[in-house]
Symmetry: C2
Subunit: 207 residues, 2 copies
């Protein structure tokens, strides 16, 4: 069996989100690949191919059971267990993440925030305590944190990333607009707001 691409995994996450949304309003308990794909403006072929990497979840002539597909996708994405997340950087973006709804219902819980500013220590934002960076190792261990979000200024990001990996963190979501050098064993994903906007300015100047 071949292994799925990064894009396939991103789409699985979208399928799950859409199913969760649909199951609130839908009366039927099943859905066809075509109906689900239409919600996402992709082809039903692609949806079926994405699922194909992981097994057979539907019934010919019928479609997919919404509940069972939701469960299966959750399991594939590792969401059948809960994950503790920390945020590094309690600035505007970091603070917004601390109060962001919609993580918790996905089995993702932000349990700690780290910052360098002593004025913020032991304060809470969105119910999450802000700790000094020095306490990272201790807190990561005691709260069993496995995922980190970097929301620091650019100049601090690389050092924070190294500190995180020394604490044994294997998965990092980076919002700082800089290319970080991470060990191969660490999964690093980047979200760069300027870069996202550049795709739009490119499009606008073409048209």
């Amino acid at each position: 069996m071949k292994k799925p691409s990064k894009d396939t995994i991103s789409r699985l996450a979208l399928y799950l989100r859409t199913l969760q949304e649909l199951s609130k309003t839908r009366t039927t308990t099943t859905i066809s690949s075509q109906d689900l794909a239409r919600e996402l403006t992709i082809s039903s072929d692609q949806l079926r191919r994405d699922l194909w990497y992981f097994g057979q979840f539907g019934r010919r002539g019928v479609g997919y059971s919404i509940d069972s597909l939701k469960n299966k996708l959750s399991q594939i994405l590792g969401l059948n267990k809960s994950w503790n997340v920390c945020v590094c950087g309690a600035g505007n973006l970091g603070s917004a993440l601390l109060t962001y709804k919609g993580f918790k219902e996905q089995n993702l819980t932000i349990v700690a925030c780290f910052d360098v500013d002593p004025k913020k220590f032991d304060k809470k934002k969105g119910g999450v305590t802000i700790y000094p960076l020095e306490d990272m190792k201790k807190i990561v261990k005691s709260l069993t944190i496995e995922i980190a979000i970097i929301a620091t200024p650019v100049n601090a990001a690389q050092a924070v990333m190294e500190q995180l990996t020394q604490c044994g963190i294997k998965a990092i979501l980076n919002f700082a607009p800089i290319t970080l050098a991470a060990p191969a064993a660490v999964k690093l994903r980047n979200v760069d707001l300027s870069t996202e906007l550049f795709n739009l300015t490119y499009f606008l100047s073409q048209a």
Copy 2:
């Protein structure tokens, strides 16, 4: 000549960001595709191929002039002119975006914010005035806004998107975790924080 993929455009944005960073510290005025690619942990082949779609910018045996490549990339991405951006939704995420540094130096300026909450009207955040949604058409026209960011709750996002397109907005960056239905002439990009994290939980459960 063939046309570049979406991924190529995203990488061009990264090349530009990296060159801007490098030009602060570098003493040489030129850089080879290999040196620049190493910064981004991609292959030099890919970098050269990405540029190939747009012309010939380097000199054999020498490399690329950092300044001239920066200029050329800016031009390709449409950043040789400045763009006015609005943010819809003055919640935590929206507010963080209003104060986000690093747009301005890229010729992107957030010039307005829209919200439904009358308590916020006419207040300023990060130097940006918050207007009622009803004033969108007027403000978009008078401030010549061409790009919008949606940072509203899920249930408001589709309506706001429609209002934006009615105002003539052709490029939208959406942070609400929902698949929006946009007219074909509108370029819509999505940033979904949960989905980004799901890629990480998938990776962690594989390992």
